[in-house]
């Protein structure tokens, strides 16, 4: 009992911590996965760019080579004039055109390359024009003219400029590559940092989770130990309390006994001397009678009234009151004696017991015109037969008393078994009991509602005392005008230990 309130509050924060740690862990995992995905994509793109750069470079070299070859073939043709040179020139030119187109395509995405590209195309076209002019001159046999034009045109410079442009383009590609390399390195670094943070986070989560679980486990272990200890001592505690209760009960019984006994003693006197007085009024009345007959003048009206009416009336009241007091005292005595009776548990089939009770109060039931319904089957209990019989007979008889003027009286008796308890219900459709009186009716000498039935208000007090002795409880559910149901809750097996 002491352990439960301390366990309950710690359970919630632990759950929350665990959920939070798991959420953070998953988040870290998600971030790490995202970062990895990003980096992989970045790397893929980078390698694409590297390939692209190399291809551009390759094509650039090829274009340059072919341009050089074309120029070389032209020069050879100018110097030697063989048709083989012309064929080589044309071959180089034919190969050059697609390569230039390829180069344009590859560099189209880069605005910084479009201008040199245009320059190259322009120069190549110009060069091609100049070359073809010298070639045509050589073909016509005007080699010297061609050579002169070559010199004037400064073919060397033209070629040199083309080379510079090629170099610039190659440099630009190299620059881009370097830029992309740097980018790649940065993203790799970011990735490493993200991974490191995720790893740290993960480690933290693991540590927190581990610590939390360890704490929780320790708490659990501690509460389990406490529970085990509690469990082990429970039996002793119950025994102790039962003994205390038995002692207190005994004390009350003794008190009730002494009180009732000591009350009885003066009552004997009151009744005794009242009887003496009553006996004394006989001769007195006779005397008055004789006096009236023999000497009427000595009899006063007061004396006659005193002897014939006042005295008998007073004595009558004293007698009825003492008789009632005697019944009350006897009731207390009976209760206290009931508390001291040794219980003898035995197997009792409740339906048979109820039948037996119904038979024994059959005349009362029939006189009052009550229909008694017994719900079968009923469980079997191990209890004290006499006590149980008194309880049920009191409850059933009470139920038959509280008839509602507007309807036929019915009494239902049923019994149900729940784990650890047998509950007998006695239900009537009578006048009902005001909820304010639900506790009061079980007190000695207290009654509820219209007092049109004889009784001292002992029955239910007796029933409750008996129910307690059987380890049971008694309760009532009722509303005014709607009948009442009394519930007797009993242990299925009466344990007489400590009772």
């Amino acid at each position: 009992m002491q352990g439960s309130p301390t366990v309950a509050p710690t359970e919630n924060p632990i759950g929350r911590i665990l959920v939070a740690a798991m959420a953070i862990g998953f988040l870290a995992l998600l971030v790490a996965a995202g970062a990895a995905g990003y980096v992989v994509r970045q790397t893929n793109r980078h390698s694409d760019w590297v390939v692209h750069t190399y291809r551009v470079e390759g094509v650039l070299i090829e274009v340059r080579r072919l341009a050089e070859q074309q120029e070389t073939a032209r020069r050879g043709y100018m110097l030697a004039g063989g048709p083989a040179f012309l064929a080589s020139f044309e071959r180089a030119h034919a190969e050059l055109l697609p390569q230039v187109a390829e180069l344009r395509r590859l560099t189209a995405d880069n605005p910084r390359q479009t201008a040199p590209m245009a320059v190259i195309e322009q120069r190549l076209a110009d060069l091609d024009k100049a070359q073809r002019q010298t070639n045509a001159l050589v073909q016509q046999g005007r080699g010297a003219d061609a050579l002169r034009q070559f010199r004037a045109d400064s073919g060397l410079q033209r070629m040199q400029k083309l080379r510079d442009v090629f170099d610039a383009m190659a440099r630009e590609e190299r620059r881009l590559l370097a830029l992309r390399d740097a980018e790649q390195a940065t993203s790799r670094q970011t990735f490493s940092a993200v991974m490191a943070i995720a790893a740290l986070l993960f480690l933290a989560v693991v540590v927190v989770t581990f610590l939390t679980i360890r704490r929780y486990t320790r708490d659990l272990h501690r509460s389990r130990t406490a529970l085990a200890v509690l469990n082990a001592t429970l039996e002793d505690q119950v025994k102790e309390r039962t003994a205390d209760l038995a002692l207190a009960n005994e004390e009350i019984q003794r008190f009730a006994y002494i009180v009732s006994h000591d009350l009885r003693s003066p009552l004997v006197n009151v009744m005794g001397f009242t009887a003496e007085l009553s006996a004394a009024t006989g001769p007195l009345a006779a005397l008055i009678d004789r006096a009236e007959a023999e000497a009427p003048h000595i009899v006063t009206e007061e004396a006659r009234l005193a002897a014939r009416e006042d005295l008998p009336e007073a004595i009558g009241f004293i007698r009825t009151s003492t008789a009632k007091m005697d019944r009350l005292i006897n009731a207390i005595l009976k209760l206290s004696r009931e508390g001291r009776r040794v219980l003898a548990p035995e197997m009792i089939a409740l339906d048979q017991l109820v039948d037996q009770i119904a038979d024994s109060i059959r005349h009362v039931i029939d006189d009052r015109g009550v229909t008694l319904h017994i719900a079968r089957p009923m469980p079997v209990v191990v209890s004290d037969r006499i006590a149980l019989e008194q309880i049920l007979s009191n409850l059933i008889e009470n139920a038959t008393k509280s008839r509602h003027p507007d309807r036929a009286a019915e009494v239902h008796v049923s019994a149900t078994e729940t784990p650890g308890r047998v509950i007998v219900a006695v239900r009537d459709n009578g006048r009902g009991i005001d909820p304010r009186d639900h506790q009061r009716i079980f007190d000695l000498f207290r009654r509820s509602g219209q007092q049109d039935q004889p009784g001292e208000g002992i029955g239910l007090a007796h029933v409750r005392a008996l129910a307690y002795r059987l380890g049971g409880t008694i309760s009532v559910e009722s509303r005014l005008g709607e009948g009442a149901t009394f519930f007797l809750s009993l242990p299925p097996t009466l344990s007489i230990e400590g009772a």
Binding site: H261, R264, S265, V268, G272, F273, D326
Partner: protein
């Protein structure tokens, strides 16, 4: 055979009213024996055992004993009367009390009481019981006290 008049009745009863009612009804039964009434246990014991005109010293007696006394329990007096070596151990003791507790009744008989009577609350019954006791007293034999 003893003369009934010579058997003294010692009544130990703390309630004056009860004592009066008992005496009245015994007298109504025609018993004229001497009745000595004590409301407390101590003077009663003193009279029973030590008084020169008490039962232990001079002549047979019977005891009417109430169990609820202010200074001691009636059962103590009963035990004193009936204990081994007591000169009064054969004297008849009638326990006349309001208690009808079974254990108490058993205990009194165990201690050697001769008759146990519960005072009926109903006076008619009470008076009748006492008168019958009176009739009983008029016929029983009481042994001589051993000197």
């Amino acid at each position: 055979m003893n003369d009934h008049r010579s058997v003294g009745i010692v009544m130990i009863e703390d309630d004056e009213g009860h004592a009066r009612l008992i005496e009245k009804n015994i007298r109504r039964a025609g018993i004229l024996n001497d009745i000595r009434h004590f409301t407390d246990g101590t003077p009663a014991l003193d009279y029973l055992f030590n008084s020169p005109d008490g039962p232990a010293k001079s002549g047979p007696a019977m005891v009417l004993l109430d169990l609820n006394l202010p200074d001691m329990s009636g059962t103590d007096i009963l035990a004193r009367i009936k204990e081994e070596g007591s000169p009064l151990r054969r004297a008849p003791v009638v326990v006349l009390t309001t208690t009808d507790d079974k254990i108490e009744i058993q205990r009194c008989y165990d201690l050697g009481c001769n008759v146990y009577i519960t005072k009926p609350v109903n006076y008619e019954n009470f008076a009748q019981a006492i008168r019958q006791l009176g009739l009983f007293l008029s016929v029983i034999q009481v042994p001589e006290v051993e000197a």
